[in-house]
């Protein structure tokens, strides 16, 4: 079994997702099942194959390093769950 309780806890932590015990159990089962299934890729000889990360044939263009902000912070902050004096507000990080 590739994914056990410890592994799922580690991935959940890396993903910053809180799982309850029931969810953890379900995902251990699902992920093992899916990983077993995708392992059929090991049948394919890819030794001399370059990885394809993006199909786009266009050469990625560079742009000038200039500011083009059109949005105002007031407008953006309207969507914030919590804000304070023109900033996003989060729980205290340092004591």
């Amino acid at each position: 079994m590739k994914i056990d309780k410890n592994t799922i806890n580690k991935i959940a932590r890396l993903s910053r997702i809180k799982l309850d015990d029931k969810e953890s159990e379900d995902y251990i089962k699902d992920l093992n099942h899916i990983l077993d299934w995708v392992e059929q890729l090991n049948e394919v000889d890819t030794e001399k194959v370059e990885p394809l990360s993006n199909i786009s044939s266009s050469i990625l263009p560079k742009r000038e390093d200039i500011s083009n902000d059109a949005n105002s912070s007031d407008e953006i902050l309207k969507n914030a769950p919590d804000k304070l004096e023109g900033f996003f507000a989060v729980p205290k990080v340092v004591e």
């Binding site: 991935i11 910053r16 194959v49 993006n54 786009s56 989060v90």
Partner: protein
């Protein structure tokens, strides 16, 4: 005076046979009578009437002036909220308009609402939405059917004739499969043809916007309106967009149609094989050459996709952290607890599953074995198509392995749902354009779709092939 045709409606508006207000009022009334299908996440009559008033005072001659369209709720829209069908984006009001929707607005289209989808476009039945299932309008009362997914709401909106066209996005089949299930036309263009700017990202190397329509001519018109270069999407293609509609022809004589043997899969229902054979016969009769081809790595496309797409999703969805917009949990005694509870409560089951898989295949020690391996197989799949297209102009296959299936099927095996995309995923990995058009019915009188794939940026021939099949079927 209502026509199930965008093209004819444009003519009727131009000839004053109907006014923009009358037209849109008719659609508003229709949408209200179909609310039980749960097609729209956002529908606000007043907002439609406001758009009508604005256009009534606009004397310019815009291509889609007054045409009612539905927008998948994955596209950011300035005047309507955008949720991606997720609790984590509840109450999110974008401060900007997506490239594709801005193009449609520039052409004078009216947005009747934002359509339901699988949460963050992850699903094949529109059953992972935080806002509930969408019901396929072709369902019989006794048995509600799934509209397919992830763009199920948009496909259903066109099928129920609640708009004259709709936008969708397709990452592994999310336009083509619901088009097939709902009996409408759905086109996913070449990767890079329509800018991804302003579309909530799922898997950035695969995501592509496209359209649903009642027929192929309308698809050509809408595609032309949504395509184009955008410097804000670094993978946007800087090419001249052809005049798809004016160049449409159903003459495929002399063209070669590839039929990939690997798409004959054990367990495919006879009806699906039958419509595939019928389509091939029609094409041959109309003068196209039929050629048997091989795409040898086809069977590895789904497992490849289910490594790459979750990997990209786990990265893309890191931005939903409860700080900048959307949902934030109440249980937030520390910053980490805020992140973990917000994401634990804000994402649904399938989205969490994919983030977890993606995080695993990208994590130290597994990256090479899973993620890099999948990218190498992806290269082989793309090569298969490159080789095949040396011998043919188009590839014709079924769109999906079945007609629409019943909703609420108890699904304890996620892979079973993933198999819906068996015919659509390979072309997504290769970034190729594909269309699904209704072509035949199953024994329950439900539509089945044929998929036509083309070379990169050869949407014109894809549309031409679809037009020929559409005219031959009618």
């Amino acid at each position: 005076m209502l026509e199930k045709s965008l093209k004819k409606t444009i003519e009727n508006l131009q000839n004053n046979k109907i006014s923009i207000r009358e037209l849109n009022q008719e659609y508003i009334d229709k949408i209200k009578t179909k609310s039980e299908l749960n097609i729209f996440i956002h529908f606000d009559e007043q907002k439609i009437l406001d758009q009508v008033s604005e256009l009534e005072n606009d004397n310019s001659n815009k291509k889609l002036k007054g045409i009612p369209l539905a927008i998948k709720d994955l596209f950011c829209t300035k005047k309507m909220p955008t949720t991606a069908a997720s609790k984590i984006l509840e109450n999110f009001n974008p401060t900007y308009e997506s490239f594709v929707t801005q193009k449609l607005l520039d052409d004078g289209a009216i947005f009747v609402g934002k359509t339901n989808l699988d949460e963050f476009a992850m699903g094949s039945a529109t059953d992972t939405s935080y806002f509930g299932n969408t019901i396929n309008p072709l369902s019989k009362e006794s048995e509600p059917l799934a509209p397919g997914g992830s763009s199920g709401g948009s496909a259903a909106a066109v099928a129920a004739d609640l708009c004259l066209g709709a936008t969708g996005t397709d990452t592994g089949g999310s336009i083509r499969q619901p088009a097939s299930f709902c009996g409408v036309v759905g086109i996913k263009p070449t990767y890079g043809l329509c800018s991804r700017w302003g579309i909530a990202a799922f898997a950035s190397s695969l995501d592509q916007a496209g359209v649903f329509t009642h027929n192929v001519e309308d698809a050509a018109i809408l595609l032309e309106s949504t395509a184009g270069f955008d410097k804000r999407d670094s993978t946007s293609a800087n090419i001249k967009i052809p005049n798809y509609y004016d160049n449409l022809t159903d003459d495929l004589s002399g063209k070669t149609i590839g039929i990939p043997k690997e798409y004959s899969i054990d367990g495919t229902p006879e009806e699906v094989s039958k419509i595939w054979e019928d389509a091939i016969k029609v094409l041959e009769k109309k003068g196209a050459k039929i050629k048997n081809i091989s795409l040898p790595h086809t069977k590895y496309a789904l497992p490849t996709y289910y490594i790459i797409a979750p990997a990209e999703a786990s990265s893309n969805l890191a931005r939903y952290d409860g700080v900048k917009y959307g949902y934030r949990s109440d249980e937030i005694s520390s910053l980490d607890e805020m992140y973990e509870n917000t994401r634990g409560q804000g994402f649904g089951k399938e989205v969490k599953r994919r983030i977890l898989i993606g995080t695993y295949v990208l994590s130290a020690g597994y990256y090479d074995a899973y993620y890099l391996k999948a990218q190498r197989v992806r290269k082989l799949i793309a090569n298969d198509f490159n080789e095949a297209f040396k011998e043919c102009d188009l590839i014709v296959t079924p769109t999906a392995p079945s007609a629409a299936f019943p909703l609420n099927q108890e699904q304890d095996d996620p892979i079973k749902m993933y198999l819906n995309d068996v015919f659509t995923v390979p072309a997504s990995l290769a970034g190729l354009p594909g269309i699904s058009i209704p072509f035949g019915k199953d024994k329950n009188d439900l539509p089945l779709g044929i998929q036509i794939l083309g070379k990169h940026f050869d949407e014109q021939q894809v549309l031409n092939g679809a037009l020929l099949l559409e005219r031959s079927y009618e």
